[in-house]
C-alpha cells in the first residue's frame, strides 16, 4: 500500500461525513419537490374500508359517510401533523435519518422497540411469545449512516405502543 493510499485510508477511517453529505443532499432535493396532494379523502376511505370490513355497515358508501360526518376534522389534523413530520424528517433534520415506527399485526412483541398499551408484561419471562394485535401509538427512530462503508447506527427515541393479542382476545376463546 502506497503512502497516499494509507493516508487516505486513515483519513476515511477518522472522518465520518456520510450522514451530513447525504442528508444535505436529501434536504436540498426534497425541499423543492412538488407539494403532496391532500390526503383527507384517501384517509377517510381507508377508515371506511376498515369499518366496512368489520361488518358494521351495510355498504361502503354508508361507512364512508359515517366517517366523513364524524371525524373529518380530526383526520385533517392527523394529515397536517403527518405531513409536518414528513417535512421535518426529509428537509429540516440533517444530523440523522428519522422515521416514524409502526408494528404490523402478528409481529412478535419486542420489549426493546415496543411498549404494551395495557401496561408492562408481568409474570414469568415469556418474551417472544406474545403477538401484536395492533399499533395504537407510533414510535420514532433515528439512524445515522456512517458513509464510506461505515456502520449505520440506529436508535429508538420513542417506542411504539402496541396492543397484544392476549389482552384483547376474550378468555376461553
Amino acid at each position: 500500500m502506497s503512502i497516499v493510499s494509507s493516508a487516505l485510508a486513515a483519513f476515511n477511517s477518522h472522518v465520518v461525513e456520510g450522514q451530513a453529505i447525504s442528508a444535505r443532499w436529501r434536504s436540498l432535493t426534497r425541499r423543492y419537490l412538488p407539494r403532496p396532494p391532500p390526503h383527507s379523502a384517501l384517509l377517510a376511505e381507508r377508515l371506511a374500508d376498515v369499518l366496512n370490513e368489520t361488518g358494521s355497515f351495510s355498504s361502503a358508501q354508508q361507512s364512508l359517510e359515517f366517517v366523513q360526518a364524524t371525524a373529518l376534522e380530526g383526520i385533517g389534523s392527523i394529515i397536517r401533523l403527518s405531513l409536518r413530520l414528513e417535512f421535518i424528517f426529509k428537509v429540516e433534520v440533517a444530523s440523522s435519518d428519522m422515521s416514524v415506527l409502526f408494528e404490523a399485526p402478528g409481529v412478535v412483541f419486542d420489549d426493546a422497540k415496543m411498549t404494551n398499551d395495557f401496561g408492562p408484561i408481568s409474570g414469568p419471562t415469556t418474551e417472544g411469545l406474545y403477538r401484536i394485535a395492533g399499533t395504537t401509538e407510533v414510535g420514532v427512530g433515528k439512524s445515522v449512516c456512517g458513509g464510506l462503508g461505515g456502520i449505520r447506527r440506529a436508535e429508538i427515541l420513542l417506542k411504539t405502543k402496541v396492543v397484544l393479542e392476549k389482552d384483547v382476545v376474550p378468555c376461553g376463546k
Binding site: L33, S56, S82, L85, E92, V93, A94, P105, A133, V138
Partner: protein
C-alpha cells in the same frame, strides 16, 4: 626478536650445545599485512643462510641444512600464494564495500524522497481535515428542530389519532345498524388471515374497535411521513438517496484531488 635469535645462534655456535630451534628459529607469524610478511620471510631466509654458514663453521651436518632450506623455500612459496590470495580477496571485498556504499546512498536518497512525499501528504491531510471539520460542523447543525420538538409533534399526532379513533368508536356504539349479523360470534383464533381486532369487532365487541382504528390511522400516518416523493418522478429519488447514504463517494472526498 630476530636480533635475539641471531645472538643465540652465534652464541651457541661458538661453543654451547645449540638446539634445532635455536639454530633455525621458527618462521615469524603473519602480521596480517602480506607485503610485510613477505619481507619478513626474506629476511628470515637470509638469516637462515647466514646461520647455515655459521652452522657449518660450527660443525652442523650439511644435509640437515639443505632440508631446512627446502622447507623454508616451500613455506616462502606457500606464503607468497597466500599473500596473493589475500590480496585478491581484499580487492573483492573492497569492490563489494564500494557497491554496498553506493546502494546505501541510493536508499538514503529514496528514503529522503519518501519522507518529503509523506510530509506533503500529511500537510494536505491536515488541510483537508480542517476543511472537512469546518464543513461537518456547518452541516450537522442544520437541524431546524431538536429531537424533543420532534417527539412533541409525534405525541401530538398520537393524541389526534386516539381522539379520532375514540370519537368514531363512540359514534359506532350508538349506531343501530345491522352490524354484520351474518359474521357474528366468530372465534378470533379460527381465522388467522383476518386480524384479531377485526374479528373482535365482528363479534360486536367494542373494545377492539378503538385499537383497530388507531392501528389503521398509525399505518396511514407512517405512509405519509415516509413517502419520499408524491409523484412518480420524485419517488425515483429515494433509491438514489439510499445509495448515496451508503456509497461513500461524496463530493468532498472526490474534490480533494489527493
Amino acid at each position: 626478536m630476530t636480533q635475539r635469535h641471531r645472538f643465540m645462534v652465534l652464541n651457541r655456535g661458538s661453543g654451547a650445545q645449540a638446539t634445532p630451534q635455536d639454530r633455525y628459529p621458527p618462521m615469524p607469524e603473519p602480521s596480517g599485512r602480506p607485503e610485510a610478511d613477505a619481507e619478513e620471510r626474506r629476511v628470515g631466509i637470509a638469516r637462515s643462510e647466514e646461520a647455515g654458514g655459521l652452522s657449518r663453521a660450527a660443525g652442523v651436518p650439511e644435509g640437515s641444512l639443505d632440508m631446512r632450506w627446502d622447507h623454508v623455500q616451500a613455506r616462502g612459496e606457500e606464503e607468497k600464494r597466500e599473500v596473493k590470495h589475500k590480496g585478491d580477496r581484499l580487492g573483492r571485498l573492497g569492490h563489494r564495500i564500494r557497491k554496498i556504499i553506493g546502494s546505501a546512498e541510493g536508499r538514503t536518497e529514496r528514503i529522503r524522497a519518501m519522507e518529503e512525499l509523506l510530509k506533503q501528504t500529511e500537510e494536505l491531510l491536515a488541510a483537508r481535515s480542517a476543511e472537512l471539520s469546518g464543513t461537518q460542523t456547518f452541516l450537522s447543525t442544520t437541524d431546524d428542530l431538536s429531537e424533543v420538538e420532534v417527539l412533541g409533534i409525534v405525541r401530538e399526532l398520537n393524541e389526534n389519532i386516539y381522539q379520532v379513533a375514540v370519537k368514531l368508536t363512540e359514534e359506532w356504539e350508538m349506531l343501530e345498524s345491522p352490524r354484520a349479523t351474518s359474521q357474528m360470534d366468530v372465534d378470533p383464533t379460527s381465522q388467522p388471515h383476518i386480524p384479531t381486532l377485526v374479528q373482535l369487532v365482528r363479534n360486536r365487541d367494542p373494545t377492539g374497535l378503538t385499537p383497530l382504528l388507531q392501528s389503521c390511522l398509525c399505518f396511514q400516518a407512517v405512509n405519509m411521513t415516509s413517502s419520499w416523493g408524491h409523484d412518480r418522478e420524485s419517488a425515483v429519488l429515494e433509491p438514489i438517496y439510499q445509495q448515496l447514504s451508503v456509497s461513500g463517494e461524496h463530493c468532498i472526498i472526490c474534490s480533494g484531488g489527493v
